[in-house]
Symmetry: C3
Subunit: 166 residues, 3 copies
Amino acid sequence: MSPIEDRLEIQDLYYYCAHLIDSGQGIRCPEEIFTADAVVNYGGAADMVGRKVLLQAFGAIPKTLEATSHNITNITVRVDGDFATGVARVIGWHWLQVNRHLGPNRPVDFLQVAGYADEFRREQGRWWIAKRVVHALGPGNTGLGVGVPPSWPSAAPHWREIRWPF
Amino acid sequence: MSPIEDRLEIQDLYYYCAHLIDSGQGIRCPEEIFTADAVVNYGGAADMVGRKVLLQAFGAIPKTLEATSHNITNITVRVDGDFATGVARVIGWHWLQVNRHLGPNRPVDFLQVAGYADEFRREQGRWWIAKRVVHALGPGNTGLGVGVPPSWPSAAPHWREIRWPF
Amino acid sequence: MSPIEDRLEIQDLYYYCAHLIDSGQGIRCPEEIFTADAVVNYGGAADMVGRKVLLQAFGAIPKTLEATSHNITNITVRVDGDFATGVARVIGWHWLQVNRHLGPNRPVDFLQVAGYADEFRREQGRWWIAKRVVHALGPGNTGLGVGVPPSWPSAAPHWREIRWPF
């Protein structure tokens, strides 16, 4: 089995990434979570590559979303030296800015039920996400609400296509 | 405390079981997840016993369900030699085949909020589920949507009746 | 990194607390989960301090709620000797007593999407919650349903205000 310390450190990385986004600090993610050459695809037609592009993407989140909660479950990690692969699920609660006038205690606007297929690298003595691809876990990846908003990337491959890490 | 390696291996077994079902490979569960003499009850009047019966049950899933996501939380495991007990929660998102015509980005059709009370055995150097009983965590075990569909087993005992593993 | 045994013991404490509440044994929480001088705030105007006050609060739960499921995710813990800090998320499913006549297989009445910012102390050889503050993870902390019921505390600070444990 993979070294337990590495598995827990990668687990914490999943949670810290969610923490930054959900506490309104998503623009810190490119520098603190992802490698300089990270490849990320949240369901768009093309991959996002590198911190500059990611910064643009994370910076745009608050324009669309008033609040989010990324509840991460089912984290499975396999470590191989300074490289690791992982899969995990996210239950992503999204409240839209356009519905802000409806007040704070309104139901979620849309819920994403999806999965992450990830690659990690150890650099400078700690772990980073080197690759992340979001996969749909429903027929699409919506659990509740308005479905995928018009501006949302929606070409995510299905969970059926992930490679299990061990 | 139980050996950490065993706890994590059993945690991975929970996630791998969810992975197989949610990636459309549920028919692999009887051979890869459960012992040959496994006893399983998802809320039916009678227990399902053994791989042949489980294969029938897992094989029938795609007839009813277009897609699922089993998000597993609150895994608590106690290991005693080659035997272990565990409890866990599942947030089970279910999209029905009968609603497939409504398109991929529709809300979930029904959501199961339930718990597992499990027994594990170590055989051939790895862990397997030897017994699984699903317990309701709401008044029934529905969180959203159409409730328990007519064909669904619905006699699950309540979470109040589980025995905490330690 | 923090000692792994301590991290897992604290993780189990999160789950055991959820188990007691969801299995109708919430009145056991003050004695079994919290230190004698514990400070707890679930979003009320004033902190609850000590076991006597907590017993009153936990004892009142069944008057309002027919059933609950507290699904805990994203547990991050930092241990420093006999003191620890932790943050975690809860997806809290709540079925109200006033809707009991609608039957067992009804959708959830309201869903809380929130976070815990916690402090733990080791006493008598085990870990206890010494402080818990609930934080909202949406615009309020409602994911679904009727929103925060009239009698519910609703002054929870936002997740933006937590201090990450490491």
